[in-house]
Symmetry: C2
Subunit: 143 residues, 2 copies
Amino acid sequence: MTNTDPTTESSTGRAPAAMARPTKQRLAVANVLSTFNDFRSAQEIHSLLDASGEKVGLATVYRTLQMLADSGEVDVLRTEDGEAAYRHCSDSHHHHLVCRSCGATVEVEGPTVERWTKAIAAEHGYADISHTLEIFGTCASCS
Amino acid sequence: MTNTDPTTESSTGRAPAAMARPTKQRLAVANVLSTFNDFRSAQEIHSLLDASGEKVGLATVYRTLQMLADSGEVDVLRTEDGEAAYRHCSDSHHHHLVCRSCGATVEVEGPTVERWTKAIAAEHGYADISHTLEIFGTCASCS
DNA sequence: CAGCAAGATGAGAACCGTTGTCAAATCCGT
DNA sequence: ACGGATTTGACAACGGTTCTCATCTTGCTG
Ligand SMILES: [Zn+2]
Ligand SMILES: [Zn+2]
Ligand SMILES: [Zn+2]
Ligand SMILES: [Zn+2]
């Protein structure tokens, strides 16, 4: 929320939501991002690029990911051990139901919990709400 | 999937709530934890100990915090930039509403989200449900 | 098309939170 | 007090992320 970016004052006015400059590398990153639906680490994404023949420096991958995250084009989350994981921003916000023993994951969503978090937050005077939610259990075939 | 826990505890039930060994250092850490209500980083906690005269090695602080977290005596969460933050925890199941800028934390709870997670999980055939949920926002005084 | 300045890139170093190492200190039951 | 097991702490090592900066590219102008 703090407006700390002095570089956005182009004479032509507000920049559109498009990528600042569609360089080969940035397109490559954006491209890999569209090949998977789960969250992957920056380094993993770098490897994917490498494996697919695209040669993009690790620093550039980080920079691009950060940039896409800032512009809201990708979702970011932190793994339990502190790594950042990225995923192309899907239109539907959802959570994960993960099997504790085999890892089987189901994507779940619903307005109930979304409403609840917003309500609770508003009730306490908090604004600009976001949340993280993971559900763990034992799946049918592991019971 | 990840089978990385060799310390298989007996399936007899809940872990005992007692601290393994109440050494001077562990008590000191547990003590500082009771002096604040928001989430603090391990290093911050180490500084607090230092400032209060208690000399506890950084490694020990990390170890103790980890241990308390594992035994459920403290809450842990990851800040946006990947650092772990700790806070003394009340015994009842609850979630946190955390201010993104000043860290002010409110414990929240309610049957709604509990019911929702159980229902969703059951709907997908998952049993023995648990969940993690954190809500982030900007508190009233930081707006 | 040549020239140019702002912007982007990448190899590697720097950073920083966290974890590992291991000798020395401490604890505890006997 | 004794001896074995546990814990501690200074410091090294690690891994993810960011910084640095010399070297390209890009987009544009004339
Ligand atoms: Zn399973
Ligand atoms: Zn949600
Ligand atoms: Zn809950
Ligand atoms: Zn605040």
